[in-house]
């Protein structure tokens, strides 16, 4: 019963109920209209036939007088399925005809009897069955009254038949609609139940669960699909968060331990003033390193949150790249490296100048750090349009990233911690994602 109540709470079912009500109203109207129409049509036919007969009788009377009239009526009244014929005196007593009794007062008025009336035939006296008929009363000049009528049994039967047929047909349609509606509603309800079951499991903490899909590509499937995509993203972010907290633990605990060790060491040794000074300076250096790690972590989480988090604007990428190259050029120079830029003018992207600059700065910085200044001590910064995309690349001639580590390069915090002597937390490729997705793909080649 509660399921039924749930069913009635769904929009589909409510709408269906409304449709059903409207449908029933229309069907009822149809039934009454059709039967009413057919009744009127049949009545009209009856009247026409009676009217034709009445005019015949008038002619016969004017030609053959009362005798001719009587003979004709006698003959006609005996025919099977004959009309009703009554000859009555001026006071209304029945003189002849094929009718046993009539509704009283029927013969008083000339013309159509108006409404249908009841009468009894001779033949069914035994059954005392009354019939319904429609008639026309004619008053002759000698006071005799002639009633010509037609039985309405047949039209009435027909009318009832039509009404029954319609009612049955509509009833079947209604029941069919109900069954279909119930089946669809149930089906929908079942699928929703399955979805809420799955989401309950997901809420319980199992993020690997996915909502069921039927594969039909309908609304439910599309909903499941986008919810699943959302779950995938959440799972990835969650995974990322876990990874970040692991990394935080590692990247922050290591320098914190060093910091503590240094402070301890300074306290343990009875150092001179300058010795303390040196220790304190080292400690400040360590704290700065910690701050840097923190900033990198914050920036990564910021960028991971998606491009929407950063303020995007139109960036003159050519100018940005040129600025960055100009910024690092003297550093490269000092290391006997040559920073070469191939930057076409006026390439614009939608992105964040700061993040793009940071990403590129990191890449150039790394290129400078890892170049071994071999045969070709040049670092090439290249900006180009290729296949509708804008490609920005930094290439050095250093040893490159080992083949098995290449996948890791685009992961956050790769190498950080493992090589503490190289202070850079390589957030470069990550920061690259801060720009417009397609526009700032960062590649590292050897």
């Amino acid at each position: 019963m509660s399921r039924l109540r749930v069913l009635f709470r769904t929009t589909a079912v409510r709408l269906s109920a409304l449709y059903l009500l409207l449908f029933s109203l229309c069907a009822a109207f149809l039934v009454f209209y059709v039967t009413g129409m057919s009744q009127r049509l049949l009545e009209q036919q009856t009247k026409d036939a009676v009217a034709a007969e009445v005019s015949q009788i008038e002619q016969i009377y004017s030609r053959g007088g009362v005798n001719g009239l009587l003979r004709t009526l006698e003959r006609r009244a005996r025919q099977p399925g004959a009309n009703l014929y009554v000859i009555a005196g001026p006071t209304g007593e029945i003189l002849a005809g094929n009718v046993a009794s009539l509704q009283p007062g029927l013969l008083d008025k000339e013309g159509w009897t108006g409404e249908a009336f009841r009468y009894q035939r001779y033949t069914d006296e035994s059954r005392k069955e009354s019939h319904v008929a429609l008639a026309h009363v004619l008053v002759l000049d000698n006071g005799l009254r002639i009633l010509v009528g037609r039985d309405l049994q047949e039209p009435e039967k027909f009318r009832v038949l039509v009404r029954q047929a319609l009612v049955v047909a509509l009833g079947i349609m209604g029941i069919g609609a109900l069954i279909i509606w119930f089946a669809i509603g149930r089906n929908a309800l079942k699928r929703i139940d399955r979805m809420s079951d799955a989401s309950t499991r997901i809420m319980a903490g199992d993020l690997s669960q996915r909502l069921p899909m039927s594969g039909s590509g309908d609304e439910f499937d599309r909903l499941s699909e986008s919810l699943n995509a959302m779950l995938g993203r959440i799972e990835k972010l969650n995974e990322g968060l876990r990874q970040v907290s692991d990394n935080i633990a590692h990247d922050l605990k290591t320098p914190l331990t060093r910091l503590r060790n240094k402070a301890e060491a300074a306290l343990a040794h009875k150092a001179t003033n300058s010795g303390y000074r040196a220790s304190l300076e080292e400690i400040i250096g360590e704290s700065d390193q910690l701050i840097r790690t923190f900033n990198a972590l914050l920036m990564i989480s910021r960028v991971e949150a998606g491009a929407a988090a950063a303020e995007m604007s139109d960036v003159n990428l050519s100018q940005s790249v040129a600025d960055c190259v100009e910024l690092y050029e003297p550093v490269a120079d000092e290391q006997a490296l040559k920073l070469e830029a191939d930057v076409p003018a006026d390439i614009h992207v939608s992105g964040n100048r700061e993040l793009i600059g940071q990403a590129l700065g990191n890449l150039i910085d790394n290129a400078i750090k890892y170049s071994d200044g071999g045969a070709d001590p040049s670092i090439k910064v290249n900006l180009a349009r290729r296949d509708g995309a804008i490609v920005l690349s930094v290439a050095d001639h250093g040893p490159g990233v080992p083949a098995n580590k290449r996948e890791d390069v685009v992961e956050r915090f790769c190498a950080a911690g493992r090589k503490p002597q190289q202070a850079g937390n390589r957030a470069g490729p990550i920061a690259g994602r801060g720009g417009d997705g397609d526009a700032s793909r960062v590649s590292r080649t050897e």
């Binding site: 400040i284 704290s287 988090a309 910024l327 003297p330 700061e354 700065g361 202070a423």
Partner: protein, 233 residues
Amino acid sequence: MVTRMKILIIEDDLEAAAYLAKAFHEAGIVSDHASDGESGLFMASENSYDVLVIDRMLPRRDGLSVISELRRKGVHTPVLILSALGQVDDRVTGLRAGGDDYLPKPYAFNELLARVEVLGRRKGAPEQDMVYRVGDLELDRLSHTVRRQGRELLLQPREFRLLEYLMKNAGQVVTRTMLLENVWDYHFDPQTNVIDVHVSRLHAKIEKDFDQPLLRTVRGAGYMIKEDGRTDA
């Protein structure tokens, strides 16, 4: 006699505020302290300060709203925003709200001091000066020329801007991040000695063949350009 700079620190962390007050005192700067946004707003509008140092997250009224309210009231004291939110966009929102400078936490006190001094000096500085002079060094902002003892020195455009910023704040410590922000318009930590390399190039150009050193490194803080012999207290 140089009048001492007077600043207001609006910071809810009492320990940090006490540390700042002590450090500023040692640097010769008088400071007042307010521990929440409302009282900070009141003090900043009732008294005259050279610089306001405002923490972004404050009880009773957040830092940004203090700044916008002050600006609405027509108080144009330079504001330095301190914030644990150090991201690019946070900086942009901070500056848009009416802040003049933004320093993410944690920071080195030297960095804060240098920035506060620059902000405080800015108030009376002849911004529109077309020629900056430090000793025998002369920088013409209009013609983009630099002369020392009347001899023209050839500088790259970026070196010119670097020198321009240093000379505009002559006698003040200018930190590496301040240089990166004001000369290159980048707000990240370059993690290498990029700025040092640029400064040493500039140093070579303006000091070579001249006896009197002007541009010097301030250990643990940054750089300063100053005429030799003239010393501050």
